[in-house]
C-alpha cells in the first residue's frame, strides 16, 4: 500500500550526484528508519529527542559505481574480480558515506544533565565499498 511504500521508499535524491531514475531500481539507496530510544533501551539515559531517524543504506552496487557513488578504485577492482574471476569474493557493499550530527539530552549516572552534540548519528549519503 502507499503507506508501506512510504516507509521503505528511498529518501528523495540521497546521493546528490546520482541521476534521477523514472523507474524504481534496487540499486544502492538511502532509506528512512524511525526508531525511538526506548526501542534501543537507551531512554533511561537519553531523554531528548524521543525518536530519531538514523537512516540506512540498502541495495545492489551497480557496475557504474564510480560515477554514481564516488567509489574508490579498489571497489571497482573488487567488482570485476567478483564478476569475472572469483564469485566467492563478495560484491561491494552499499554503506553510508556521509553523516549528520544529532543533539541529545542525557541524564548521567551521577544525576547531572548533559546536552551533547554527537557526530555521525544520521546517514545522509550512500556509497559502494
Amino acid at each position: 500500500s502507499k503507506r508501506d511504500a512510504a516507509v521503505t521508499s528511498p529518501v528523495a535524491n540521497p546521493t546528490a550526484h546520482s541521476p534521477r531514475y523514472d523507474f524504481p531500481t534496487d540499486d544502492c539507496e538511502l532509506y528512512d528508519f524511525r526508531v525511538s530510544f526506548s526501542q534501543l533501551k537507551l531512554d533511561h539515559w537519553i531523554i531528548a529527542p524521543q525518536k530519531y531517524n538514523p537512516r540506512y543504506c540498502k541495495g545492489i552496487c551497480p557496475r557504474a559505481m564510480q560515477s554514481i557513488y564516488g567509489s574508490p578504485v579498489h571497489t571497482i577492482v573488487q567488482n570485476i574480480i567478483y564478476e569475472q574471476l572469483d564469485s566467492s569474493v563478495p560484491r561491494p557493499s552499499c554503506v553510508p558515506s556521509e553523516y549528520k550530527p544529532l543533539s541529545v539530552l542525557i541524564i548521567e549516572s551521577d544525576g547531572s544533565i548533559a546536552y551533547k552534540e554527537y557526530e555521525e548519528m544520521i546517514a545522509t549519503k550512500c556509497t559502494c565499498r
Binding site: L42, L105, I107, D110, A114, Y115, Y118
Partner: protein, 284 residues
C-alpha cells in the same frame, strides 16, 4: 560518543550480557568494540545494574528548553558566535549547609566534576538559582555574590581563589518561578582547567533594596528564603573529542575528502578499455 567507561561500568558491561542489543553486537565486534559502541552497550546493559540518580524535574525542564534553543540556533546559517559550545552540563550541588539572615545567606556547597572530561574545554560557567515565589508578591533587589573556593584542610590554609559579582533580581507579579544566572567563568576557569574531580565553594549572597520606585511604591527586597535552594552549576563546554560535533572541523579532517588523482587516471584507462575490442592489437 558516549561517556567513557569507568571501571565499575566496564565491569557491569563485561558481566554476562542478557540484553538483546549487546547479544546482537558482541559476536560481530568481539574485543574490537569501538569506544562508542562499548558505551552504547553499557548504557543498554547497565539499565538495571546500578540505580541511576534522577535530577529534579525543574532542572530537566530548564535543560529541555536549552536543548530546543540550541537546536534553533544550530540550524540558523548565521548562527551567532555565542553558540560555539557542543556540550552543556548542569551539575546539582552534592552536600550543602546554609546559614541565613534577613539580608544575606551563606552556603557551603560541593560539586562533582567527575563527568567533565579532559577534552571538554570550558567556555562559560554559571551559578543557576531557581527562585519559587507566590505570584502575589513582586520585588526588585540589587544583590552581591561572593564566592570562594574552600581548600581541603590538608591543602593551603586560606583560599586565594575569591570572586565577587553584583546582579539584579526583579520579579513581576505574574511569574511563579525565576531563574537567576550568575556568570562565574573567570573564577571557575582555572579550577576546572586543573581537572579536579570535585570543587568546594563557599558562597555568600547579600541583597539590598533596589532603591527604585515602581508605580509610586518602593519595591520590596527579595526575601532571602527564596535563595534557600542551592544553585546548580551550569558549564558550557567545547568537547574536542572525535565523537563530538565540531562546528569548525580541523583541516586534517576535510583533507581526506578530495578525490585522488589515481582515481581519474584509472577511470580513463577503464573507459578506454571498455569502449570495444582492441582491434587485434595485443599490447605486451
Amino acid at each position: 560518543l558516549f561517556p567513557h567507561a569507568s571501571p565499575a561500568e566496564a565491569a557491569a558491561a563485561t558481566a554476562v550480557p542478557d540484553e538483546p542489543l549487546v547479544d546482537s553486537v558482541m559476536p560481530y565486534y568481539g574485543s574490537r568494540l569501538s569506544l562508542k559502541l562499548k558505551a552504547l552497550s553499557e548504557q543498554s546493559v547497565g539499565r538495571e545494574a546500578r540505580p541511576r540518580l534522577r535530577p529534579e524535574s525543574r532542572y530537566v525542564r530548564y535543560m529541555k528548553r536549552l536543548y530546543k534553543i540550541s537546536l534553533k540556533q544550530g540550524r540558523r546559517p548565521d548562527r551567532s558566535a555565542s553558540h560555539v559550545y557542543n556540550t552543556v552540563r548542569l551539575i546539582a550541588p552534592r552536600d550543602e549547609c546554609l546559614e541565613r539572615s534577613e539580608e544575606s545567606s551563606m552556603q557551603d556547597l560541593s560539586y562533582s566534576l567527575d563527568r567533565v572530561r579532559a577534552q571538554e574545554q570550558l567556555l562559560k560557567s554559571i551559578l543557576l538559582y531557581s527562585l519559587d515565589k507566590d505570584q502575589a508578591t513582586s520585588f526588585a533587589s540589587l544583590c552581591n555574590l561572593d564566592v570562594k573556593e574552600q581548600e581541603h584542610a590538608g591543602q593551603k590554609l586560606c583560599s586565594t581563589m575569591h570572586h565577587s559579582v553584583s546582579f539584579r533580581v526583579r520579579s513581576e507579579k505574574r511569574s511563579r518561578r525565576i531563574w537567576v544566572e550568575i556568570d562565574v567563568t573567570t573564577f571557575l576557569h582555572p579550577i576546572i582547567r586543573s581537572q579536579k574531580k570535585e570543587i568546594h565553594l563557599l558562597i555568600n549572597l547579600t541583597c539590598a533594596e533596589n532603591g527604585e520606585e515602581v508605580g509610586g511604591s518602593q519595591e520590596r527586597r527579595v526575601p532571602m528564603e527564596l535563595f534557600l535552594r542551592s544553585p546548580s552549576l551550569l558549564l558550557y563546554l567545547n568537547d574536542t573529542s572525535e565523537v563530538a560535533y565540531q562546528r569548525w572541523p580541523s583541516s586534517a579532517r576535510s583533507e581526506s575528502l578530495r578525490p585522488s588523482l589515481v582515481m581519474n587516471n584509472f577511470l580513463s584507462l577503464l573507459k578506454s578499455k571498455q569502449k570495444g575490442p582492441m582491434h587485434g592489437r595485443r599490447r605486451p
